[in-house]
Symmetry: C2
Subunit: 160 residues, 2 copies
Amino acid sequence: MLKLTKKADYGLIALKYLAEHPEKTAVSAKDVADAYGIPAQLLAKILQQLTKSGLLKSHAGMNGGYALARDPGKISTFEVILAIDGPFFITSCTKGAKDCELSHNCTIKEPLARVNDTIAGVLKSISISDLTDHESAEGHAGDIAKIGLVSLSTHVVEAK
Amino acid sequence: MLKLTKKADYGLIALKYLAEHPEKTAVSAKDVADAYGIPAQLLAKILQQLTKSGLLKSHAGMNGGYALARDPGKISTFEVILAIDGPFFITSCTKGAKDCELSHNCTIKEPLARVNDTIAGVLKSISISDLTDHESAEGHAGDIAKIGLVSLSTHVVEAK
DNA sequence: CTTAATTACGACCTAAGCGGTCGGATATTC
DNA sequence: GAATATCCGACCGCTTAGGTCGTAATTAAG
């Protein structure tokens, strides 16, 4: 279905929240959970994962909580999703082509891998601070094309 | 995890196979299944779905089978995935924002919806005939940028 | 007209993963 | 030492993906 998990959603929401409140030195999982109606214990585990991945700094004890480990502009959504959901690959045949090799040539994998890279590139290009919608994120229209997009298309269809 | 299902994989593989064998007027599900080691009955159901969606034409009976309903260049991977897996949305909170509304503002959804559109645009730009890897699908490097990509990035990260 | 190939369709099953909870341990501040 | 927190592992219910089975309807070939 190509959808990302709720955990990743929650993680992104939490990081965005942290990015929007730089005045607070530490925000508890419960605070964020209450603010958005997210199950507190679940969010706690997510934030712990993000901490282990080095995206957050944690501080236990009273008045403790989490804080961004880096500038929100330096944290990509790709990293967040990776930290929470693990490495993703469009192809259900996992990367190694190990399983598909025996069943002849899964000829579709190479082009699909390029699609995978494209999507990853898009995700890498979007940082947490980009999620803070300052309404129109105009400009830089051509930059996306530089993200290592392999052009697969010989016939560009206009997207709705 | 942002991966597409095996069913979609199988469907794409089958369509590519059909596109590569235009000489055959009809290919049975079993033929394709045997060629790639795909469970025959499962593939059959997938091809039936694609037929219902108008991407394939079917012919029952002996020497029957499936054929592309259109030129492979006119069938986008987006359509295939849509036909098999149904509409996909990056956001786990389904499109209507119905469920998220009550739990305050799920501020992350708008930017994520744009990511969704971007990915959809990429998928729409890739046709079945594009999957036939004529090695380097060069050129058109900038075209992707025209696909209605909303530029979210202010800081482009180099993709691997 | 019988047989074999093939699509069409629905019921069903199983394993895995997501979303979530619970309980307890550790750390830190007041 | 009591109140907040992070930490961490075990557990659980539910959905869904992936796949099977059986059966009916269609069509071509002998």
